[in-house]
Symmetry: C3
Subunit: 268 residues, 3 copies
């Protein structure tokens, strides 16, 4: 766990020093919030979704973040195009399957992205992640995941089947590549009362994967940093409205020593 | 009026307890603000506009909110599709005819929605509501509505003609189904200086209609709650910028007793 | 310089009194932020991009603001349509070539807008402005602009070649029509850490051009007002999150005397 804490500090330092360009093809609701969260973290956001420019744009990027909220067909085509170019460049792809499982279109879009591109990390809540299972999954009998420990066994099998690192976020976050598993205890109860807090987590996972080639450590340390900013913001705000500016301020202001002391990685 | 105050408290309590899913097909400018206003009020927002998923998504919803700002043709088609499915499910539709009367496209879109779906509540400012009149309207001679009392007579006739409950918002809000009329005195002068405050009112009207089957009481109590949150926010902010987080905090924090004491329903 | 200070005060007074309608065809990331910045400044924003209504909408406008972030082909067509109608009405067009130079699509879109409409003012950072040069430009040997004084000579030639007033914003802003040149020293280091601060500057330039027919004085005074609001906000905030509401509050609250004392126009 001490290694992870050191890695968290190292990754934040690198993001702030290198300012990696993060290319987002994301939903309309969270574009502004996501861009500001990336800027506050030290990264450089770009939002571009036109089929005519996504391949060119992703060439400049340290990570590609795909988010299927407010999806339409042309956007899926752009995501695939950008994703295939990212794969050629060995640029990590981070997928946020917003609402997978809720409509056939979202489930199908998620599967198409996973089939036609190679996704390094997928972040969602437990029901979105369970929706990624196909008919042949060993976990198909599992209908719901109520605790992070129930999630753990399912997620390990799914990560192996899909071949991506999975991040299931909630009160406790869980990151696994099917071999290694890390739990993260940072976060604040106000976060689910603000739209886009999950989407912004995915984008910051993108920024950390741009500077750390190990998806498990990159993702777990991004979630610890983001969750710690949430804790600081929660303590300084009086509701979900004042939480938003306080979160950005915290992402921007957290000192490396503060992160070192504040990371809550959990064994097992 | 005491009945309405009791109903306001009851409705807010129900929204917070049941967390109804509110399906929004709304404009790009206010998506984030609207989602956060619904979350702060206790409801669960979803934004989805693709023709391929709107019917499936609206099946989960307690209300469908249609908002024609930043409109294009494909969005109107999605609104109609979602609206017809909502009608099948008896799910209330709330319409915000942003800019109706300003361009032919917006006026035509509003009329098409009213013609092809059954809309339960329409919220707009007085000029948007007047734009709903067709050639045969008894109110056609009325060219402008300057006071809430002038608005009242016109709105009553229009509500009967259209067959929807109308909410005209302004310094004093007015709600009528053509039979019963309620005025609401809550609100704050900073609200028109923030984009989307009208659109968010419409969304919260959606949340209240999801838990109260009477559109007049649902709409009037939603406007009292929202306007009271505006008053609290106005007292805690130093301009339209700090008003936004303060409004979300107030929507989230208002206690039932505070709402009971703060509602300003006006006779006549 | 005293003339410019007087003009700044006069322009802000006019914007607040006349509340000009500013028609924006802009990117998804900044729509909400831009609309709120315009409202806080006293102007009336409208966002409308459908080909079916842009010509009608721009007829009501005091300025048309075109911004090519998150661009797709249909949006370019709408911008051209709105722009040609604006030209017929003698309504000033302000262009923000976001990311020009980064992808071929954005560079081509910028050139198409400049070719098919008559643009009064273009605002960008130095690399976006340099990307406007065509093969025949006298400045083509200049590969980068590192200081505002290097920018000055290039910008003067470019403004003459393009026939628009150029505004290059950065730590020091520069405005030139190829004959007259003004530098503005207002602003705050937190501004680049918030998404959309450049786009909102462009929109406020639109509002000032709606009340002042001289593009150099309109643009320079808009940047002084906006930059001063940034300074006030920077002094009242603890990071890029709290900067956002503080900026809106400052735009809304700046008194005319405060602007008179705070403008930093620089000779040469």
């Amino acid at each position: 766990m001490d290694d992870l804490v050191r890695r968290a500090v190292e990754n934040l330092e690198k993001v702030r020093a290198r300012r990696p360009l993060i290319h987002n093809i994301t939903n309309f609701v969270v574009m502004n919030f996501t861009a500001n969260a990336l800027l506050a973290s030290g990264a450089s956001p770009v939002m571009a979704h036109a089929e005519g420019e996504v391949e060119e744009m992703v060439n400049f990027a340290g990570a590609l973040v795909l988010n299927i909220g407010t999806l339409t067909d042309t956007w899926i085509d752009s995501m695939i195009k950008a994703g295939q170019q990212a794969n050629k460049n060995m640029t990590p792809i981070i997928l946020d399957p917003v609402g997978a499982g809720a409509t056939r279109m979202r489930t199908a879009a998620t599967r198409r992205i996973l089939h036609e591109t190679s996704v390094k990390v997928i972040r969602g809540n437990s029901s979105e992640i369970l929706a990624l299972r196909d008919e042949g999954s060993k976990t198909k009998g599992v209908d719901a995941v109520h605790t992070v420990d129930q999630a753990k066994d399912t997620a390990i099998i799914l990560a192996q089947e899909i071949g991506s690192t999975l991040a299931i976020t909630g009160a406790i976050d869980l990151v696994t590549d099917g071999q290694r598993t890390v739990k993260i205890g940072n976060g604040h109860p106000l976060m689910p009362s603000v739209t886009g807090t999950g989407c912004a987590a995915t984008a910051i996972i993108g920024a950390f994967n741009a500077v750390d080639s190990d998806p498990v450590t990159a993702t777990a340390t991004a979630l610890a940093y983001y969750g710690l900013a949430g804790e600081i913001a929660g303590n300084r705000s009086s509701g979900p409205g004042s939480f938003v500016p306080a979160l950005m301020d915290a992402l921007y202001s957290i000192k490396l020593g503060e992160l070192e002391r504040g990371c809550k990685f959990i064994e097992g």
